[in-house]
């Protein structure tokens, strides 16, 4: 049980800066996901926390104690690697026992710990097997068993599910969440998969080019992204963008599209934009921000379906609006057909409004 604090952490490989001044506080027991595209520095940051890499600058402290000069073995952390890193020449039992053996734990205590972990992870039948006799999912469980038996202060995961097939990945995701809820060990989990991040995290830290773009609860990042990068990275199918001009008329805020259509922002959304002058903006609309309207109503647009992509309960619908190709998501039960003309309403209260030059969100 521990909290972790990073202050202005920098790390370069030769002339290439990989982590550029990260400040982060992770409270005790929280599940934090470091999310980002490959090369954003998230794995490097995790390795710096583990002590496998030294930070060039900055302070890393666990429970208020600086660990910059503490060797990995003395940081009391456990790590699960993408390729599991099981020792192939040891049985599953010996693999799990390894860390405790090195730390000279008494044999009966080791046995008790392994029994506890094996039961928790349902790998009791596998203890005498060699790692090569296990499936990917079983190896993953063993790797987690090896990490939990030591009751570490921090639990570090480096893309642990990316070597598993889709179905197994969902099962293990559930397993990891269940494990965290049972043990409440402070966890830092690195992934590039937004679904893993959204489903597992108490808090998502979205990284880009070595810096934190935004951090917070997953739904906050999704609903109120601070920048175009965050808005684009989260969400599948991706968010749609539309150029517009923000205009004020008294208290009301209006968005004027290139085709001269104007959209009135709902009052509560407009209230968040009080400090924004009239200026060009980019509107971000997620696929679920489009609402099907039956019968003519105000504030709706008319579009023709160019393509349908059924995905089980949902159907992804391509169309063009104001000259921009877009994708919306509707219930499959609507029975849409290619070529249909739709009347769409917009959930503008949830729309993301960005400054086109800086890419930062306005009034987020």
């Amino acid at each position: 049980m521990a909290n972790l604090r990073l202050e202005k952490v920098h790390k370069s490989y030769g002339p290439v800066p990989v982590v550029r001044g990260i400040d982060l506080y992770i409270p005790d027991g929280e599940f934090t996901v470091l999310l980002g595209p490959s090369g954003c520095g998230k794995s490097t940051l995790l390795r710096v926390i583990a002590g496998l890499e030294d930070a060039d600058e900055g302070e890393i402290s666990i429970d208020g104690q600086s660990v910059n000069d503490v060797r990995p073995r003395d940081r009391d952390v456990a790590m699960v690697f993408q390729n599991y890193a099981l020792y192939p020449y040891m049985s599953v039992y010996e693999n799990i026992a390894f860390g405790m053996r090195i730390r000279k734990m008494p044999e009966d205590e080791i046995r008790r710990q392994i029994a506890w972990a094996a039961q928790l992870l349902e790998i009791e039948d596998l203890l005498q097997r060699a790692p090569r006799q296990l499936s990917g999912g079983q190896r993953q469980r063993v790797a987690m068993g090896r990490a939990i038996v030591r009751k570490p202060r921090l639990f570090l995961f480096d893309e642990p599910l990316s070597n598993l097939d889709a179905q197994l990945r969902e099962g293990m995701r559930t397993e990891i969440k269940r494990l965290h809820q049972a043990l409440r060990i402070t966890t830092i989990y690195v992934t590039h998969d937004q679904v893993e991040a959204m489903t597992l995290a108490d808090r998502v830290v979205l990284m880009n080019q070595g810096v934190v773009e935004q951090q917070g609860p997953p739904m906050e990042l999704y609903e109120r992204p601070s920048s175009r990068f965050v808005a684009s990275f989260l969400g599948s199918p991706p968010i749609n963008y539309l150029d517009a001009h923000l205009k004020r008329e008294g208290d009301a805020v209006r968005l004027q599209l290139p085709d001269q259509t104007t959209l009135d922002l709902p009052a509560e959304r407009a209230a968040r934009l009080v400090e924004v002058d009239e200026q060009p903006v980019t509107i971000g609309l997620r696929p679920e921000h489009f609402v099907l309207r039956h019968g003519s109503q105000a504030a709706s647009v008319q579009v023709g379906i160019s393509l349908l992509q059924p995905a089980g309960p949902r159907v992804f619908t391509n169309f063009e609006w104001a000259g921009v190709p877009m994708m919306a998501e509707f219930s499959a039960r609507e029975g849409l057909r290619q070529g249909d003309t739709l009347l769409l309403g917009l959930d503008l209260a949830r729309a993301v409004i960005l400054d086109p030059t800086t890419g930062r969100a306005l009034g987020a």
Partner: protein, 281 residues
């Protein structure tokens, strides 16, 4: 023109048989000297020179082996065993940790390891006489440490080069996992890196040992009478007047045995080790 299946089968069999015959012929040519050496070891001196030669000794005599207990023959095999074993163990230890640091910490960049390998390309005779002078000055001529140092130095580049390839093949996460689990660098090396590289290490060690056990050029320069090694001792049985073939045969057999048993015992690792390192290095 198409051939019937029967003809095709015949053709295939003929081809297979002719291949077998060629292989057999080549084998006979190469194995014959070894066979002759073996047989010579069990012949009486008169039978060795009999004309026509006998293919199988008329009576197996162990006199040639018994004769080795007198003189320095057995002692020279013992000397070779000691020198080869000690130098191999030390070269393996030093070479493996050097290889680890080349492979994992990129010590010296890419050029250092190539430079180390280039040391192995110097002809021994180019080094022999400068080394002789150095050894004479510090009193290492005709001593165990002298030859042991020398063989360590010659084997090290080879061990470092080959072991670097084997260590690079090990996933770094295994070590990192061990470091986080509570190992020091040394413990990670002993508990993870060396066991993972075991096949490669054994294969490398066999080669280093065989080199040190058979080495002649340095040994003949650096020894006088105290620590004469087995390959040098054999030459003592060639005199200007005649060669003691029976004794040479017996010694050669005894000298082959350690290496032979070693290769047999480690056969499994040798094949894996040799092919495992093939793709890297």
């Amino acid at each position: 023109m198409s051939r019937s299946p029967r003809q095709r089968r015949m053709h295939k069999q003929v081809r297979q048989w002719s291949r077998m015959c060629i292989a057999l012929l080549i084998t006979i040519v190469f194995v014959f000297p070894v066979y002759w050496l073996f047989m010579t070891a069990f012949k009486t001196p008169s039978e060795i020179f009999s004309n026509p030669p006998t293919w199988v000794p008329s009576s197996l005599t162990w006199d040639n082996f018994a004769g080795m207990t007198e003189g320095d023959d057995l002692r020279s095999i013992f000397n070779s065993l000691v020198i080869a074993t000690v130098s191999t163990v030390v070269a393996m230890f030093l070479g493996s940790i050097a290889a680890y640091s080349l492979a994992r910490h990129r010590v010296g960049g890419d050029s250092l390891s190539i430079w180390i390998m280039s040391l192995r390309m110097v002809p021994p005779m180019a080094m022999a006489f400068p080394l002789f002078l150095m050894f004479a000055t510090v009193g290492l001529i005709d001593t165990y440490p002298g030859l042991i140092f020398l063989y360590i130095a010659v084997n090290l580049p080879y061990v470092i080069w080959v072991m670097r390839g084997f260590i690079e093949d090990i996933a770094p996460e295994l070590e990192q996992s061990a470091l986080i689990d509570g190992c020091t660098r040394w413990q990670a090396l002993v508990h993870v890196v060396f066991p993972m590289a075991r096949a490669g290490m054994l294969a490398t060690a066999v080669f280093a040992f065989v080199y040190a056990f058979n080495e002649f050029a340095f040994a003949v320069v650096m020894t006088r009478s105290e620590v004469v090694t087995f390959p040098v001792q054999i030459t003592h049985h060639f005199s200007p007047m005649s060669a003691f073939w029976a004794r040479i045969g017996a010694m050669s057999i005894l000298g082959c045995l350690p290496v032979f048993f070693m290769v047999v015992a480690m056969n499994r690792y040798l094949v894996r080790g040799l092919s495992g390192g093939a793709l890297k290095g």
